[in-house]
C-alpha cells in the first residue's frame, strides 16, 4: 500500500511538472508570437516602399541553379535572367533592342556576327565585363547546354576588349533572339558551383536561395542602367492552391493563379491578367501509320488533310475559352500569335456546317452509331494530355465533346511525359508552346532528316516549300527580311500550314497568365508572356512601384 501511495505521489508530481511546463511554454509562445506579429506589421509597412514578394510554380525553380548553360533564362521557358545581363533584349513589341551590346551586325554570308559591347560594365564582384567573358559564356553554353540548341554556333572569339565575333556553322538570322536570353557570366568566377552562387552584371544580385522554398534578390547598386526601383524581390515557389492561400492570408504581393481560381475574391487584391503566346493545341499526324524502331508514326484518320481542315474550323475556340479558362484567354491560330513573324492568314472562323460538308465530301460518312467512317477506317483518335494538368485535360475533354458533334469520336487519356513524345507520333497530344523566337516554328514544322522517319520532330509532317522558306528565313540578311519569310512558311498563297494548307497542328487558345496582385502595387507593362507561368512576370520587376 505504501509503495502504491509513493508511486501515486511520484506520478502526480511528474504530471504536475509536465502541465506546469506546458503552461509556461504556451505563455512563451504567446509572447513570442506577439512580437513576431509586430515584426510582420513593420515588415508590411516597409514592404510598401521597395520590396515585393512574388509566388511562382514549383516547376519554375531552376534545378541546376542560375546558370545560363543549364537553362537559366535560355531554357525551355525563356525569360530575362535578371542576375546576368544579356547582349540584346526583346522590346515590348518583341523586336530586338540593345542591352550590353552597343552595336551588332552580320556578314554577307550570314556566318559571322560581330557585336561590340559597352566598356563601362562591371560584375558585382568589381571585375570589369569584357568581350572575353562574352566569348567564354557562349562557348561554355555551346559545350554544356542540353536544354537549348547552340549547334549553329561554331565558336565565339573576343577580337579585342569590347568586340566579340560569333562564328556560325550555318546562317542564323534570328541570332539576336538567342542573344536576348543568354546571361553573360564572369570567366574568372565561373566553376561547377556557379549556379548556386551566380555573379553577374544584371539588375539584381542573388542574396539567398533556400532550395525548394524561395530565392531572394537584391538590387545591384552598381547597375549600369537605370537603378531598380524595387530594392528587394523575394520569389516563393509553391503550387497554385498554396499561392491562393498565401494571398488570402496576405503573405505575398503577387500570387500566380489559374483560371479555375479566377472567380475567388480576395480582399486587398486585384486579379491581374497578362496576354500570352502560351498556347495550347494538338498535333495531327499527317501520314499513314508506319512503324520504325518500335515507334508508330502516323495515323490513318488524321492523315487525310480534309479531316484536319474540318477539325480546324469545327472547333469553337471562344466556347472553349469561356468554359475552360473562364474567359481568360484568346483564340490561337498558330504557335506564334501576335509575334512579329505571325502570319494573319492562319486565322479561321468557326464554321461547323462547312466542317461537316468537308467531311462528307471527303467520303467520311456517318455510320449507325453516329461515328463517321470511310473504307473501314473509323473517324476516331485518342487525344492525350499530360497527367495532372487540369487545363489541358479540360481542353482535351472539350475538344472531344465538340468533335463528337461532327461525328468524330475522341477518347481522352492522361499520359506521363516519359511516353508522351513517342506516342504523339501516332496519336494527337495536347501541347503547350510559345516562345519569343521564330525558332519555335522551325522546331515544330521543319523536317529533321536524321531522326525518326525524316519528318518534323514532334509529329510526322513534311512540306518542302515550308522547309525552304524557313531555311531562307534563317539565311536572311536582316531580321525584317526573315520575318517575311517566316510568314511565308506559314502561308505563301499556295501552300503552308494554315487551313488552306496542310494544317498539321490545331491551335486552340493562348492561356492568359493570371495573378492576384496586392492593391497599390503597380506592375510595369508586360511583354506578351511566352510559355511558362513563372519568371516572365518579373522580367521588369525593377520598374514596378508601390503607390
Amino acid at each position: 500500500m505504501k509503495k502504491k501511495i509513493i508511486a501515486f505521489l511520484c506520478a502526480f508530481s511528474l504530471a504536475a511538472g509536465v502541465f506546469a511546463g506546458c503552461g509556461q511554454n504556451q505563455e512563451q509562445t504567446a509572447q513570442t508570437s506577439g512580437v513576431s506579429d509586430e515584426k510582420v506589421q513593420e515588415g508590411l509597412q516597409e514592404s510598401t516602399k521597395d520590396e515585393v514578394i512574388v509566388t511562382m510554380p514549383t516547376t519554375s525553380e531552376p534545378e541546376s541553379g542560375f546558370d545560363p548553360a543549364y537553362g537559366w533564362g535560355a531554357g525551355e521557358h525563356v525569360h530575362e535572367p535578371l542576375i546576368q545581363s544579356t547582349l540584346t533584349v526583346t522590346n515590348q513589341d518583341l523586336e530586338i533592342g540593345l542591352d550590353l551590346a552597343t552595336d551588332y551586325h552580320v556578314s554577307e554570308d550570314g556566318l559571322t556576327w560581330t557585336v561590340t559591347i559597352r566598356d563601362d560594365v562591371k560584375f558585382t564582384d568589381g571585375e570589369p565585363l569584357t568581350a572575353e567573358d562574352v566569348a567564354f559564356t557562349y562557348n561554355n553554353c555551346k559545350e554544356k547546354s542540353s536544354v537549348n540548341d547552340f549547334t549553329m554556333l561554331e565558336e565565339a572569339v573576343a577580337t579585342d576588349n569590347t568586340t566579340v565575333e560569333f562564328r556560325m556553322t550555318r546562317p542564323y538570322s534570328i541570332w539576336p533572339y538567342t542573344m536576348a536570353v543568354v546571361g553573360i557570366v564572369p570567366e574568372h568566377a565561373y566553376d561547377e558551383n556557379y549556379g548556386q552562387n551566380p555573379i553577374g552584371s544584371g539588375r539584381y544580385i542573388m542574396k539567398q536561395w533556400d532550395r525548394g522554398q524561395q530565392v531572394i534578390f537584391e538590387a545591384n547598386p552598381e547597375y549600369y542602367g537605370e537603378a531598380p526601383k524595387m530594392k528587394k524581390v523575394t520569389v516563393l515557389f509553391m503550387e497554385e492552391d498554396a499561392a491562393l492561400a498565401a494571398a488570402m492570408s496576405g503573405q505575398v504581393d503577387v500570387a500566380h493563379t489559374a483560371a479555375s481560381y479566377s472567380d475567388q475574391q480576395i480582399e486587398g487584391y486585384e486579379l491581374f491578367r497578362v496576354d500570352t503566346v502560351d498556347n495550347r493545341g494538338f498535333n495531327l499526324p499527317c501520314v499513314e501509320p508506319q512503324e520504325k524502331d518500335g515507334i508508330t508514326y502516323g495515323n490513318a484518320f488524321t492523315a487525310d488533310v480534309r479531316v484536319r481542315r474540318a477539325i480546324n474550323i469545327g472547333i469553337d475556340r471562344q466556347e472553349m475559352i469561356d468554359n475552360v479558362l473562364n474567359g481568360y484567354g484568346t483564340a490561337a491560330y498558330s504557335v506564334c500569335d501576335k509575334m512579329p513573324w505571325y502570319n494573319e492568314d492562319c486565322e479561321v472562323a468557326y464554321d461547323p456546317e462547312e466542317a461537316v460538308r468537308i467531311l462528307e465530301e471527303a467520303g467520311w460518312k456517318e455510320g449507325s452509331d453516329g461515328i463517321r467512317e470511310k473504307d473501314g477506317v473509323k473517324a476516331e483518335f485518342t487525344l492525350m494530355f499530360s497527367t495532372g494538368d487540369s487545363v489541358r485535360q479540360a481542353l482535351a475533354e472539350d475538344t472531344a465533346n465538340q468533335l463528337r458533334e461532327l461525328g468524330i469520336c475522341v477518347t481522352t487519356e492522361g499520359v506521363g511525359w516519359d511516353v508522351a513524345y513517342d506516342r504523339a507520333q501516332s496519336d494527337p497530344l495536347m501541347w503547350g508552346w510559345g516562345a519569343h523566337t521564330p525558332m519555335e516554328l522551325y522546331n515544330i514544322y521543319h523536317t529533321l532528316s536524321d531522326s525518326g522517319i525524316g519528318m518534323a520532330g514532334y509529329s510526322p509532317y513534311a512540306n518542302e516549300a515550308v522547309d525552304q522558306y524557313m531555311d531562307q528565313a534563317l539565311a536572311a540578311g536582316s531580321l525584317e527580311e526573315s520575318y517575311e519569310l517566316w510568314k511565308k512558311a506559314q502561308w505563301d498563297g499556295t501552300t503552308g500550314i494554315t487551313q488552306e494548307g496542310d494544317i498539321p497542328w490545331i491551335w486552340l487558345c493562348n492561356v492568359d497568365h493570371l495573378y492576384f496582385v496586392r492593391d497599390g502595387l503597380q506592375i510595369a507593362d508586360q511583354k506578351i508572356h511566352p510559355h511558362g507561368h513563372g519568371w516572365s512576370i518579373i522580367n521588369n520587376v525593377d520598374q514596378w512601384n508601390w503607390e
Binding site: D241, L244, S260, Y261, D263, Q264, G388, S390, E413, V419
Partner: protein
Amino acid sequence: MKFFNRRQRMMIGIFFSIAFLVIVCVLGNLNTEAARVTDFSRKNLAPCSSYIFGTDWLGRDMLARTLKGLSMSILIGVVSAAVSAVVALVLGIAAATLGKTADSIISFVIDLIMGVPHILLLILISVALGKGLKGVVIGVALTHWPSLARLIRAEVIQLKESPYIQISAKLGKSRWYIARKHMLPHLLPQFLVGLVLLFPHAILHESSVTFLGFGLSTEQPAIGIILSEAMKYLVTGKWWLALFPGILLVVTVIMFYVLGESLRKLLDPNSVHQ
C-alpha cells in the same frame, strides 16, 4: 439487438455488406458512360437534387464518378486479393510441407517483403510496370500475400503435428495427398476469412497509390484520382468533391471488414455456437 442472437446478427451483417457491395458494383458499371461525360454547362455545381454529389470543374457527375470509382476499386481489390491469397496459400503450404530448406527460403522472402513498407513496394512495382490498371493490380497482388502466407504456414506446421496427419503419413500417403485431402479442408475457413480481410487493404492501397499519382491514369474515375483532384479545389470551398467520395470509400472498406469479421465468427469453431 435483443431480437436477434449473435449468429443472426452476423448473418445480417454479411447480408448487408454483400448487398451494399453488389449494389455499388452494379450501379458503378451502369454508370460507366455517365462517369466520363463532361458538360461545361453544369460545372462546379454544389450538391442538389439532380446531382446529389455535385459536379466537378469539368461538369462531371460526382455520384456517377464515385460509384464507378468504387466499383473499379472493388474489382481491383477482388482480383489482387484473390491473386495474393492464392500465392499465400501455395507458398504457405509449400513452406510447411516441402522441408526445412524450402521453409527457410520462403520464410526469408516473407520477412523480406514484410520488412519493406507496403506502399513503397507497391509504388515501385506499379511504376516499373508502367502504372495503369496492370501496374496497380500486380503491385497490390505482389505486396499483400506475406501476412496471409505466414498465417497459413503457422497453421500448417501446427497441423503437421496432429495425430491424424501423422497417422496418414505413417500409412504411406504422399505429401501432396496429405496437403490436398487433409490440410486444405482444414485451412479453407481461415483462408477465406483472410482473403476477405485482404480486400479493404487492397482497396485502400489502390486508392492511395493512385492518389499519389503512381496508379491509374487521370482520365479514369478511380477513387484515388477523384480525391487527389479534389485537393486542388478544397481551398476554393468545393467541399463536396472530397467529402462524399471519401465517406463512401470508408464505408466500402468497413463493409468488407464487417463481412470478413462476420465470416470469421461464423466459421471459427470457437465462436460459431455462441
